[in-house]
Symmetry: D2
Amino acid sequence: MKTVQTAVIGCGYWGPNLIRNLHEEPRAHVRYVCDVNPARLEAIKRRYPSVKTVADSRAVFDDPNVEAVFVATPVETHFDLASAALKAGKHVLVEKPLTDSAASARKLIALAERCKRVLMVDHTFLFTAAVQKMKEIVESGELGEIYYIDSVRVNLGLFQHDINVVWDLGPHDISIANYLLDRAPERVSAVGASHVSRQIEDVAYVTLYYPGNLLAHFHVNWLAPVKVRQMLVGGSRKMLLWNDIEPSEKIKVYDSGVTVRPMPDGRPDKGDVYKTLIQYRTGDMLAPRLENIEALSRVVAHFLDCIETGREPLTSGRVGLEVIRVLEAADRSMKMHGEAVNL
Amino acid sequence: MKTVQTAVIGCGYWGPNLIRNLHEEPRAHVRYVCDVNPARLEAIKRRYPSVKTVADSRAVFDDPNVEAVFVATPVETHFDLASAALKAGKHVLVEKPLTDSAASARKLIALAERCKRVLMVDHTFLFTAAVQKMKEIVESGELGEIYYIDSVRVNLGLFQHDINVVWDLGPHDISIANYLLDRAPERVSAVGASHVSRQIEDVAYVTLYYPGNLLAHFHVNWLAPVKVRQMLVGGSRKMLLWNDIEPSEKIKVYDSGVTVRPMPDGRPDKGDVYKTLIQYRTGDMLAPRLENIEALSRVVAHFLDCIETGREPLTSGRVGLEVIRVLEAADRSMKMHGEAVNL
Amino acid sequence: MKTVQTAVIGCGYWGPNLIRNLHEEPRAHVRYVCDVNPARLEAIKRRYPSVKTVADSRAVFDDPNVEAVFVATPVETHFDLASAALKAGKHVLVEKPLTDSAASARKLIALAERCKRVLMVDHTFLFTAAVQKMKEIVESGELGEIYYIDSVRVNLGLFQHDINVVWDLGPHDISIANYLLDRAPERVSAVGASHVSRQIEDVAYVTLYYPGNLLAHFHVNWLAPVKVRQMLVGGSRKMLLWNDIEPSEKIKVYDSGVTVRPMPDGRPDKGDVYKTLIQYRTGDMLAPRLENIEALSRVVAHFLDCIETGREPLTSGRVGLEVIRVLEAADRSMKMHGEAVNL
Amino acid sequence: MKTVQTAVIGCGYWGPNLIRNLHEEPRAHVRYVCDVNPARLEAIKRRYPSVKTVADSRAVFDDPNVEAVFVATPVETHFDLASAALKAGKHVLVEKPLTDSAASARKLIALAERCKRVLMVDHTFLFTAAVQKMKEIVESGELGEIYYIDSVRVNLGLFQHDINVVWDLGPHDISIANYLLDRAPERVSAVGASHVSRQIEDVAYVTLYYPGNLLAHFHVNWLAPVKVRQMLVGGSRKMLLWNDIEPSEKIKVYDSGVTVRPMPDGRPDKGDVYKTLIQYRTGDMLAPRLENIEALSRVVAHFLDCIETGREPLTSGRVGLEVIRVLEAADRSMKMHGEAVNL
């Protein structure tokens, strides 16, 4: 495959990681880096003297050699930049969340289809060895019926000035849960509070109701003194704990659970009889080995694969839209103190 | 003070701990232990040959020598046993939750007043060195304005056959939050799911709205592969983490936080200006030394003090009632998928 | 089997645990508790009113009904008390270490044989679920060839006034290592220092050389701010970590190691060639489930079994002697700044 | 200050980190990168297109524009390369350990003095925020008299083909201990074993005897299933724990210790009297905030400062020599099964 000429728009927090990974990828070449902040461009220039640094994204869109564009700018600019890129015939990888509204996300998806270009959203976590392993375990049925997913994603800052903590951290958990469960939630209930700024929730709890009595609950928080990245997946046969802070043994599978011997009529009875029917199992714990590859390098490789083959990305525009629908519902529910919003 | 003659009704899980602590307490003597299960009584008899073991609680109530009764039976029996004890002129310490409804709790409180007897509920955690230290820190103002309380109280079982996970584990968090914040919540939103039994929630999330934009959120779960007992208290100046599983350094106070320089009109602005006004602090962490005393021995001592002095217990019937009002609201909210219930 | 009448001599730190476990054991009855300290006897009397408490051990030895004696007194008294008990025809379980010298230990072993009585030393750790599981794993060959054992057993105090930290904590590690490896060391090297008292080492490091190039190293320390109870067992195929502080997952087996492809002449070569022959494996980690039984109850049961069957205890006098020989060698080596002492 | 033209010789494991930090340092410019392995040079060229890559170090020494050379090659080559660089009038920063023998280290120091050039060894850890904080705490006297230093530095591989585990990992602990204690040890005792290769110890324990009854003990190990980087500093008044694996709270200072009230004659007595004189303190724990700066960037900056000012580096050739003297003594002691070697 010939080298794909690429451009990265936005080099604040995430952009430089993209640029670094693109340099490691033999199939890609970074032709442009674009940012409104000259200081950032200088830093890039010092590290990568061969890259063209520009302040105006039009230079990128006007260059017919550029085939693929990476949008790593603030959320409110995603739609305009991605649309312009698609209209200019570029394939686009957009930082999460895809856009700032389901409406604009739908437009973007339609546009990409019209332009026959790849539209991918960078839900990086789906490409981590940990989530890939969890997906494998869940699909194998090893956990039995999934009862709940519980995630805690908290730390001190960093604040986004344009979106709340649900829009900032929630996309990780929502995209992971949808991916693991292979379905979308029916209903969302969320509560939150704004402390540092009256307009922007900095602490929130989001509950997703999935078909089949399955709850997924996310605690997202910018005001926690410690950094926690933990997800529990409770199943009828086994249970899984993912601690992404751990340097090793990030995933632990517990051969533990509760078994209920049903009554003749198929449902457990109350009282002492009922009690005797419940049994606990505490068994071995296994921490499966995880490959040690940077997820973002896989994101880049997958994006290039999709360009080459025309295949739909694992994290397509549609996947990005599902995430945004939940985010919008969470905002609505928070304003109603937790009243559920149907999707 | 002369020795108080006591009786313990119910020696399942909690009763034996009570009996052990009563034996260590010079001001009390265990005259009776009562249980419907003969095997349990035998075990007690072997360990404490001097104790009278009886199957029928009337033997306890009819003995004029018995001054104080400890009720450690299933929740649905608390009201009847505590009422009978009070009517028989005994002081009563009831296992948490006080009763199975706010209505019966109110009756019990009124009865205790009429009988001029001490009615105390065993919210043991309020007597731990950890919670006492947390109360001291919160009251000192060291944390600044309290933003939120977040608690995770999960493990595998044990199931109560008569109450759900909120009624089983929630009273700890509710009583602690009310105690630390020195106020009662205005509104409750809760979500939950039943997996092992259709009737009884085994996973639940409860949000308490306190006056002043303050959220307290509790994750209670009987289906977790690991045991977690963790509470975060986020403040405007400092933040506190209580990990009750840790053998030492259970409480950590982080000199970390977010400071916002307000705009002339007193509220932070949006956009870049706003961003420049936010500053993060990450400072030292202090783990204060905690005394090493069993909380239940303090509960027993406090109960005896109240009998002696007539003072109202720290965990009075009123305190127990506040907890139950939240539990009832949580049940209602869960049935409405998180819709808030006002108190 | 009829109930064995027992006596416990010494109820300082360990005695009360013995007494509690003896009460739980249906095959044993505690007839006497003996201690020079009246306050301790009172505390026992309050908890176990049926027990006879005496200050003079002769009362125990003179009572023909007493069949078994538990010696839980300071080390320097072990020999006299155990000898007296054996001469009086009692079976004896002695707290570790068996005595304060190899010479006296040998005498005790000979005496027990002459008297045809059971002599057992309470190396409790060998009866824990963790050590039993480790023994099972080592014997299965799962770890391959054992390369080393490394143990850290440190905390703040408690000081023994009559023995140093090696004699206090070392017996655990020595007895475990001898048990796991099923052999005795050939050579001992130890270093230590005394800080709090000039006469008594409070920090020490002991190295045992076992046949077959196998090192066991123990760090024992009374002056550490944190409590650590950790043992590594490194093997050619897998490696094991035992963390006894953990409430669960105390044992972790790592499918990790180093493999060397030998050269034609059977030994690895140096230089680049050599490098290419070394391969690292990092695989899954398994934490096997451990039974939850108090080790001391198994010690008591095993002692009673040996009395009944006449079988030699797992922790016989001989086993206790092996431990003391290492302790004496460690003392000698420490005085010579680590110079090895052959056994 | 004008930009210093630099060259990096060796870009295996450490070299690339040096190159990256040199690129971030405005006062330095990387003119050459030298390595015998073409693949490595290509990787560097891709990342830093402006750098000249050469296979032969003579190109570096012959270029008069090069002022400073970084030697990051295998240990056995340090002396020849550093000598050549000094003779060519370059300032030299050498990866640790400085050389493979005290004799060659002395020659290098003498040569640097004759050439009036800066000779610095890269004992990176001395420039970490953690060690700087520890030094500050030790010097403040907060810990009281230092009793011992205990370090555990273990993990799985990586193997050096030319040096054993003591020469590979030991320099970190030796340089840190000498720095914290501000003195050199008098005596060394070490034990070790070779498993993977008969010639090269892969597990070792090194004890340093410092003046004043102070032990420093290091466990270095290439065959451990888990990575541990932990150092204890025990003092008469407080104790410090450094866990370098922790993402935060790397350093914890425990206000814990043992106090002995001396007898009239100034020394504690034995027996019960003695016991009553010992008191334990367990107090608060403080985890001081640490700055978040990469140590290697400080190493580079310090090296440039010394070139500019002619000041002797914190990690001068002399400091590097002290480390090597201990390494040689440890090798000798290991061959004698722990017999102490005087320095």
